[in-house]
Each structure stands twice: as C-alpha cells, then as structure tokens.
C-alpha cells in the first residue's frame, strides 16, 4: 500500500525550492529552444562586428585626438546589448506566449525560485558569451587601432588587459551586459509581452544618450547621464579623462545595477502576486 506513496514523495513539493532541480528545469527549457543559441551567437557577432567596423573607421590625426581607444574598441557593446535584451526577455515572455508558464508554475509553485533560476542561468550565459565577445573586441582594437594613429607616439599605448583601466573597461563591459540582461528579465516579467518588453527596455536604454547629445544645458546633461542606465553604465568603458565624467566608472555601473535591481524587484513582486 505504501509503495506508490513512496514513489510520489521522491518528487515531493519540497524539491521546488531554488536549487539544482529548478535550475535544471530552466536550463532544459533554455537549451532546447533553438533561438537561444542563435541569439547568443548573434549578440557576440554584432558586438564584435560593430567594434571592428568602428576600429576600422577610427582616425587619430597627428594633431592629437580626444578619443578613448578602450571605449572605441568596445562600441559594439552598444549594439550587442539589443540582442542581450531580446535573449533575456524571451526567457520569460516565451513562456507566456505559449502558455508554458502554467505548467512551469504547476511544477514549481515557488514563483520567486523560478525567477531566481531564470536570472541565474541568463546571467551565466550572458557572462560567458560576452566575455568571449569583449575579448575579441579588445583583440581587434589591439590589432587595428595602431594602424589608425592610436600609437604610443600619440600617447596611446596598445590596449592590454594587463593595464588596469583597460582590464576594468573589459571586465566592466561583460558585467554591463549581464546587468542589462537582468534589467530586461525584470521588465519582461512585469509586462509579459515579448515585443512590448523589448521596446520598453531599448527605449529606456537609448533615450538617454540621444537626448543628452543635443541639450546644451550642462547641468541637465550631467544629471541625465548620471541616471540613464546606458549612459551611466558605459562609464565603465572610459579610460581617458576620467575626471570629467559625472560619476566614477564603478559608480556608473552601480547606477545600472540599481536599475536592474529595481526592475527585478518590480518583476518579482508582480510575478509573485499576479495570476499567471
């Protein structure tokens, strides 16, 4: 009589806490959708491609240029982040568009555990892929920029990960992309609709650099750059004239982390208390 019950207890409700099983379930979902792999590859390709194209178009005339070689060779992050946004949004919104979310929540009723598992896996994937992409960008910058006037004679040593600021710019860019993924995950959990979530996140990211580029009022320009998730977050890429930045590089990344934390909190609350 007890035999079937014993079989059931093996998959008892206690197992649905955040842990190996939730991670494994979410990993299976991510892994078995073809789009995840394509999008990750696309994010890396777009990041590297735009960076390399920018390196090729950069020019530093003999008279001296004010460009920052690290920022230049990591410009692709600004484009690649769009695909990172899509990867993170899809991890949540796909479940809603297919109705899968109801099965997920039936199997793992602890909703925050589900969200935590998704966040962990997406962060890990994005960290891994962006590390590869950023390394390739640095390498491209190292190979191409000296041919465009960024030479030691003009005051620009080779990009090198053994150089403190360059290492911070590279590692920071990887973290930047991971934080962008978390921000997107939070927004997607709150709004559930793929297209709307992508539009909201990209609008939020891009509106700050575009608007600050035109307004002449220094006071407003500074404040907007300080609060914008993209503008502040990308300070982490700066290696020259750091003193003129409105925030230090790590403070800037902290602003983005606050945005991501806020979005995740909002998404978590909504997810926890709303019907799926």
């Amino acid at each position: 009589m007890n035999a079937p019950a014993a079989g059931l207890t093996a998959v008892g409700p206690g197992r649905a806490r955040f842990g190996r099983e939730t991670l494994h379930a979410e990993w299976t979902k991510l892994r078995t959708v073809a789009s995840t792999g394509w999008l990750l590859a696309g994010a890396a390709a777009l990041t590297i491609g735009v960076s390399a194209a920018v390196d090729a178009a950069a020019a530093c005339p003999a008279g001296g240029c004010q460009a920052d070689p690290a920022t230049l060779s990591l410009t692709g992050v600004q484009a690649g982040q769009a695909i990172v946004v899509i990867i993170a949004v899809l991890a949540v919104s796909n479940e809603y568009s297919t109705g899968m979310i109801r099965i997920t929540l039936a199997a793992m009723p602890r909703r925050l555990a589900v969200l935590a598992a998704k966040a962990t896996l997406i962060t890990g994937l994005v960290l891994a892929v962006s590390a590869v992409a950023v390394l390739a960008c640095v390498l491209a910058g190292r190979l191409m920029l000296p041919g465009h006037g960024f030479t030691a004679a003009h005051g620009y040593p080779l990009l090198s990960l053994s150089h403190g600021p360059d290492l911070r710019a590279a590692c920071g860019s990887v973290l930047y992309l991971a934080l962008i993924a978390l921000l997107s995950l939070g927004v997607a959990t709150a709004v559930r609709e793929t297209a709307v979530a992508i539009g909201l996140v990209l609008g939020l990211l891009y509106v700050f650099p575009v608007v600050t580029s035109v307004i002449g009022n220094q006071h407003w320009q500074r404040h907007l750059e300080q609060i914008g998730p993209m503008t502040a977050g990308l300070y982490i890429q700066a290696t020259t004239s750091l003193r003129s930045l409105p925030l230090t590089p790590w403070q800037g990344l902290g602003v983005l982390a606050l945005w991501a934390a806020g979005a995740l909190t909002l998404g978590g609350l909504v997810f926890r208390f709303r019907d799926a």
């Binding site: 460009a67 793929t194 297209a195 992508i198 539009g199 700066a238």
Partner: protein, 529 residues
C-alpha cells in the same frame, strides 16, 4: 413527402472586395486597446522629449539670469538676419562702395589676397589660410544686412567664384591669385540681370554666370569687398565634440578699376556690413586708396548661416526637437510586429485567410492600415513636439527656422519615415512570424544606426556608411539644412547632416520595404498558415 429547404442565411454574400478587407483589418487594429494606448503614449513621449529638449537646452547662467529674462532678448541671444530666400544668413564683410544708378558695369584686377588671424589687442595675428576668404566685386541691394546681391570674387582656396543671394555658387577660373597671376573680375547689370565675367589677362573674358535678382531697385550699391570667415579647429572627442572658432581677416589689393554707367557719387565709402558683429567679434575692416590702387581688409562671411553647437554659436533647429522620433519608431515597430504576429499566435490567421483567401490582399490591407495609423501618429508626434517645444523657446539660444518648405518636409518626412518603417516592420514580421525576431531585425537595422550616429563619438566613417545602406538612411528626411560647398563646417550626422539627400535616404528605406513586402507576399502565399 414534404421537401424542406435547408436553412440559408438571408444575409448577403460576403464580398471578397478590398474595402471590407481594409475595414476588417482596421477593426482588428482599433479594438486592441494596448496597441492604441501604446501609439498614444508614444506620441506623448515623443512630444515630451521635444519639450524637454527645448527646456533643457540653453544657458544655465542665462536661465539663472540677472534681471528679467525675456525670450531671446536678454543674455545676448544672437539675432540672425534672413536672406532673400528666407534662410538664416551671415552677411558680414568690408564694403568699399558707391551707388550705381541703372545699368552699368564694374571691372577690377585683383593682384593679392592674404589672410591672418585677427589682431589680439596690439599684436597682429599669425598668418592663416582660410579657403573661403573672399575678395572681389559685389552689386548689392543697399547696405542692409541680408539684402540681395551678386558677386564675383577670388577665394583663397577655391579659385574664382560667382556667388549670389547667399546660397548660389558657381566656379570660375581655378587657382590662387598673385601679382604674377592676377585675376580680372567684371560684373555687369542690365535690368534685373547681373552677369559675371572673369579673365586672366583683362582682354579675354569668360562669362561665369548670369543671375536674375528680381525686384532689384534701380539704384544699387556696387564696389569692392573682402571677407574672411572664422577659422574653426574641431576636436570631436568622446561625449560632445568641441569647436574653437578664431576670427580671421583677409587683405586684398585691387587695381585697374573701370566703370561704365551712371555713378552719381564722387567718392568711395567704406562700411563694415553688420556692425553688430564688428562690435562683438572685434573684427577689422579698412581700406586704403592710393594711385588707383585699393588695399582692402575685411572679415566675416557672406554665406548661409548654419545651426548647431559645433558651427556658429549655440543654435538649434526644429530637428533637435524631433530627436524623440526613434522612441516613436520603437513603439510603432512593436505595434506593427504584433499586428502580424498576434495573428499567428492566436491562430486568427486561419480565420483571416479563410475569410479572404487572397493572401496578397490581406498583406496589402494590413500594410495600408498600419501605415496610415503610423503616419497619423507620426505626424501628431512631430507636430506636437515642434509646436510644444516652440511654445517654450529655449533662452539664450537661437532657434533657426528654415524656409517653410524645408520645415514642412521635416515634419511630413518624419511621419513618412515612421509610416514606411511600420510597413517594413509588418513585412519583416510576416516573413519571420515571430515577435522577437521581427523586433530584432527592425531595431538592428533602423534604431541602432540612428542611436550610434546621434551622439558624436562613434567615427563618422562608420556611422556615415550605416546611414547610407541601412533603412535608417531615411532619417535624412530630418536634415534641417542643406550642406553648402561654399561653407566649411563639420558636416556630420550628429550635427544633423546626413550622407544622403533627404529623399534619397527615404528611397533607401522604401527600397528595403518594397523588398521585404515582396518576400513577405511570396512567403505568405507559399507557406501553410
């Protein structure tokens, strides 16, 4: 045995016409509350960004203000003159002139043109070559700033030119001028027509151009002029680029002056045109006459005036109020994507195609509905942004207004850009059938090229290429001012100058859209729904 007729609906047969199809698609669009609200929010956001830009542009110290700050008047807002075509112009030069009554002509020989930075106190500035330093003869509708003119001139780096009414420019003899290689210039007035000639030896003359200046009074001022624009050193660094403007002056030597016609005045008079600039920029202007030789020194430029922080002082155009367009574009892309992908997600596509088996027509109806809705929303956003921002004009900064056809093109062009982008999105969504993929393609091809090119910093070589080949080329429709060959400036996308002409850029977007529509129509017909 009674025969019973099976039930037949008394409703008329549904027509498979295009009208009902359009109506059906419009109903689908209109009745999804989220889409309509999304469009309205996007319109408000775009207009709000315009308002914010107007509020946050301008001078802090000015806004803190000492004393009452009025629109434009206080804080040294530069008032720019308008040319005969209605465009903002710069009309500053040293003019040695006499009245000319009726028909007549003026001929001179120029033997030298040199330039240097303007004096800094008692110290003469070092020499500098400014390619558009000009010296020559001019016939002008009085000495009023912004009045009509036609001129023949030798320049420092662009040979002999004939120029008229600030925007007109046509080349004459090439090369620079020197005592060994003088240039002869002649202007002849006949009615409203002014004809320019040049010559290397004073005997063999070539006609450079004939210009009709309509409404020219019978008595005009004619004489010698010299101008030299500011020398600008650009540093386009990260963040905002900066420009260092230094005033320059040019000196030219004229001789062999001969005149025909009626010149009622006895002597030549020297005036610095636009004395306001003379007071603020400490520019020089003088002439010296001895034995038929005139040595004239002048500064400034006779040319269209360009807007932008990198060009001539703090000034903006209505294009700056429209920077929120890309937000509208994102919103419209989201709605247009869902307009198609929702059909697949909900299975509605099968009902749609059962009701209207002509699949190409379904696509056409959807394109017309989403395109029209996006056009109306885009026009509302653009007009809203410009009107609201115009109502709270920034303080301490000039807002350049172009002639109305250009401003109309910017407004209608913004709406057209958004409408065609919506159709492009719809076609892409039909091809890929999934929201994420469609949004991805539209964002990468339209929004990212714009976002990379809007702030200065990313090399122009790259953004210029992006704005040529991607659908984002259509942002050229928002270019407020033409590029002038005869004005040296920083013509880069972040200052509002696009690599393609406005309608050429729009054609690039239309081409991509046509391609996507054809492919979408083909796939829609070939694939099972």
């Amino acid at each position: 045995m009674t025969t019973s007729t099976p039930y037949r609906s008394t409703a008329r047969d549904a027509h498979d016409g295009f009208g009902p199809l359009l109506h059906a698609e419009w109903t689908k669009f209109r009745t999804v509350r989220g889409w309509v609200i999304g469009m309205i929010v996007a319109v408000l956001a775009t207009a709000g960004i315009g308002l914010f830009i107007a509020k946050a542009t301008g001078n802090v110290s000015c806004q803190a203000g000492n004393g009452p700050v009025q629109h434009g008047a206080a804080c040294g807002q530069p008032n720019y003159p308008l040319g005969p075509g209605g465009e903002p112009v710069q009309d500053e030069f040293y003019f040695v002139s006499q009245p000319l009554a009726g028909h007549g002509s003026l001929t001179v020989r120029v033997t030298s043109l040199t330039g240097r930075f303007s004096e800094q106190g008692p110290v003469p500035g070092p020499p500098v070559v400014v390619p558009w330093s000009k010296a020559g003869i001019i016939i002008k509708d009085g000495t009023t700033v912004g009045s009509a003119y036609a001129a023949m001139m030798i320049t420092r780096g662009n040979g002999v030119r004939m120029q008229w009414n600030y925007t007109g420019d046509t080349p004459g003899l090439p090369g620079t001028v020197s005592a060994a290689r003088p240039r002869w210039l002649r202007l002849a007035r006949d009615g409203d027509t002014i004809t320019g000639y040049d010559s290397a030896d004073g005997t063999h003359w070539t006609r450079v151009g004939a210009i009709a200046l309509t409404g020219l009074p019978s008595t005009v001022r004619a004489g010698l002029f010299v101008s030299s624009p500011v020398h600008t050193a650009y540093s386009s660094g990260l963040g905002t680029g900066t420009a260092n403007n230094s005033p320059t002056e040019a000196t030219a030597v004229f001789d062999h002056i001969s005149r025909t016609g009626t010149w009622p005045a006895r002597a030549w008079t020297g005036d610095y045109i636009d004395p306001r600039a003379a007071a603020t920029q400490q520019v020089a202007g003088r002439y010296h006459q001895a034995a038929g030789r005139f040595t004239v020194t002048g500064s400034g430029d006779i040319a269209p005036l360009l807007a932008g922080p990198l060009n001539d002082g703090p000034s903006i155009t209505i294009r700056d109020y429209l920077l929120g367009t890309f937000v509208m574009l994102i919103a419209v892309a989201v709605v247009a994507t869902m307009f198609m992908t929702a059909e697949y997600r909900r299975g509605l596509i099968r009902t749609t195609l059962a009701a209207s088996p002509h699949r190409g027509r379904v696509l056409a109806a959807k394109a017309i509905v989403i395109g029209s809705a996006a056009f109306v929303a885009g026009l509302a956003a653009a007009a809203g942004a410009v009107l609201i921002a115009g109502a709270v004009q920034p303080i301490g900064i000039s807002v350049f207004h172009e002639p109305w056809p250009a401003e109309l093109r910017i407004l209608a062009g913004t709406a057209a850009l958004i409408a065609v982008a919506a159709v492009f999105t719809l076609a892409v969504a039909t091809i890929v059938r999934r929201s994420a993929a469609a949004i991805l393609i539209v964002i990468v091809t339209i929004v990212i090229p714009f976002v990379l090119s809007a702030p200065p910093g990313v090399p122009v070589g790259f953004t210029g290429w992006l704005l040529r080949v991607t659908p984002a080329a259509a942002f050229a429709l928002q270019q407020p001012m033409p590029q002038y060959y005869q004005v040296q400036a920083n013509y880069i996308p972040s200052s509002g100058y696009f690599p393609l002409a406005p309608w050429t850029g729009f054609a690039v977007l239309c081409g991509w859209t046509a391609l996507a529509l054809v492919l979408a129509g083909y796939l829609l017909r070939r694939r099972d729904a």
